[in-house]
Amino acid sequence: MRSALPPLGSPLRILLLASSFALAGYAGVRLLSGDWLGVVLWFVGAAVLHDLVFVPLYAAVDRAVTGVLGAAGRRVGAPSTPLGQRGRTLYVRVPAVLSGLLLLVWFPLISGRVASYESATGLSAEGFLARWLLITAVLFGGSALLLVSRLRRATKQRPSSDH
């Protein structure tokens, strides 16, 4: 009769992992010596939130954007556009990703939620939102310019059959 227990796996891997856990435990009891529940929530919560909320969320948003732009492109009439669907949606997705990345990293300052920033540093907290919006404008605007120039170049290169 076969055992119901899973097999052991590589002993070397088990050894390596055990020593890793020992070190993590040594640091971990110190990490948890204060507000242990808060730290556990942040530590595990970060992994769970990222893998089960953030990744599905941005994948879904990306898929929605790609889908909407693709559908719109087909309605206008795909044959007349020299760039493929995939090529054109990139001109929206790339600046959106870059702008979103800046927002993700600098959200506390951009949103103005850090009440003590001005009194602590003597600097103005006003500019962050404005600068992020301007960078976003430049990213999307630049992308639009690139798209227009590529479309024009592609149209010129195509042998004209209209006249």
């Binding site: 899973p6 020593s19 070190l23 995939r86 500019g127």
Partner: protein
């Protein structure tokens, strides 16, 4: 698109980058001289984790500026790489069966420490430099012990996975396709069995990740420099501009108002510096300090948060000369405990080691850039020493006690 090549490239970049982050982090920890005095030590129960501590040197004077600039700027630059790497391995989270062996089960627990740890470190770091102290506890122990928990999982992950990643990259360079996953279990590939039509090429995705890193770098790195370069750090906490103009118009960590320092307690009539040593105590007014031999040093302010200023011209009394006032030979000056007027703040008391006190560039500064210190830069007197973390350059100094700590 998702697949061993993408994961391997990002993995190798992170291997190098995170190693630099860990080393610069440990060096920054050592720069506080936590083994010198309890007031410098926010992690008193560190035990063996402080095994490598050493007396932090004063040369080169920009050592801490460089170390911390690299730590913070590189960390921010790596964020897109980290996010892309985590995205690329998400399918493994849902691999079936969830547990195939004891070793596999342990490795999955280790991966929780790895992913939780890396996100914990990046999130606490990114929040701390924006002064958004919402994390559960003091930054120093959280970021330091969290780094060790993460590092334990990181090392074993690298040992188990790096050989496969390097193999994949070599194979790709030789023009062969990846034959197996970036790992030891080729039966659970990263490549989707039924992939959607790719909406971007692998090379394109890598360009996007690199572009994100470049954008973050370009809008952050300037906060380690003055002048026009600082204005390029459009979104960094100490980028975009200076708090004022003129001799005192350089970056401030915490203002006098924020620390509750009043004009009265720093006035010529009220403020006295108390210097204590084996021969007793000396009380000095600012005018009396200005009557002592004054020296100049060009030194930067460099914060644990990663921002720094270029060299400022400080003028004041050498710390070693102050030690000589209370019974020491200047060349044999001991450690010193410095106390600020400020009533709260983790470093209202700070200790400097003998090598820092003896350095002729270490001053109790009275002037900066040719003018008296401004209140925000520590008027009436502040410490400035080469290569120390900014918070050890105590402002609004009230008391200095020389002696071995």
């Amino acid at each position: 698109m998702r697949g061993p090549w993408f994961t391997s490239v990002l993995g190798v970049v992170l291997l190098g980058g995170i190693t630099v982050l860990f080393v610069t982090g440990l060096l920054s920890y050592a720069a506080y001289n936590p083994d010198l005095s309890p007031v410098n030590d926010k992690t008193p129960d560190k035990g063996l984790l402080g095994f490598y501590l050493f007396a932090w040197p004063t040369d080169p004077p920009w050592l801490y500026r460089l170390n911390q600039g690299v730590h913070v700027t590189l960390g921010i630059t790596l964020i897109p790489v980290l996010l892309a790497k985590l995205w690329s391995v998400v399918p493994k989270l849902f691999a079936l069966p969830p547990v195939r062996s004891l070793a596999h089960a342990l490795e999955r627990i280790s991966l929780l420490l790895l992913v939780g740890g890396v996100l914990f470190e990046f999130v606490t770091g990114v929040l701390n430099i924006q002064l958004d102290y919402v994390f559960p506890g003091s930054f120093y122990p959280l970021h330091f012990y969290g780094a060790w928990v993460f590092f334990a999982a990181f090392v074993v992950h690298v040992v188990l996975r790096a050989p496969a990643a390097v193999r994949n990259l070599r194979r790709m360079r030789e023009g062969k396709g990846p034959q197996e996953e970036a790992g030891v279990e080729p039966e659970f590939p990263l490549v989707s069995p039924r992939p959607m039509e790719p909406t971007v090429s692998r090379r394109g995705a890598l360009w996007l990740v690199g572009g994100g890193s470049l954008l973050l770098f370009a809008t952050t790195a300037g906060q380690s420099f003055d002048g026009p370069l600082r204005r390029t750090a459009l979104l960094a906490p100490h980028g975009a501009g200076d708090p004022g103009s003129g001799p005192g118009g350089f970056q401030i960590n915490k203002t006098a108002a924020y620390r509750g320092i009043t004009g009265r307690e720093t006035s010529e009539e009220v403020w006295r510096l108390v210097v204590t040593g084996p021969t007793g105590s000396v009380r000095l007014s600012r005018a009396e300090l200005l009557g002592l031999p004054l020296h100049s040093s060009a030194l930067p302010i460099a914060c644990v948060e990663g921002w720094s200023t270029s060299d400022q011209w400080w003028r004041g009394v050498r710390l070693r000369d102050l030690a000589a006032l209370v019974g020491y030979e200047a060349d044999a000056a001991p450690d010193v405990m410095v106390e600020s007027l400020q009533r709260r703040g983790a470093f209202r008391k700070a200790a400097l080691r003998a090598n820092q006190v003896r350095d002729p560039r270490s001053l109790l500064a009275l002037d900066v850039n040719g003018e008296p210190l401004t209140p925000d830069h520590g008027y009436p007197a502040r410490v400035i020493a080469p290569a120390v973390p900014g918070v050890l350059n105590t402002k609004w100094v009230a008391r200095m006690t020389f002696g071995d700590l």
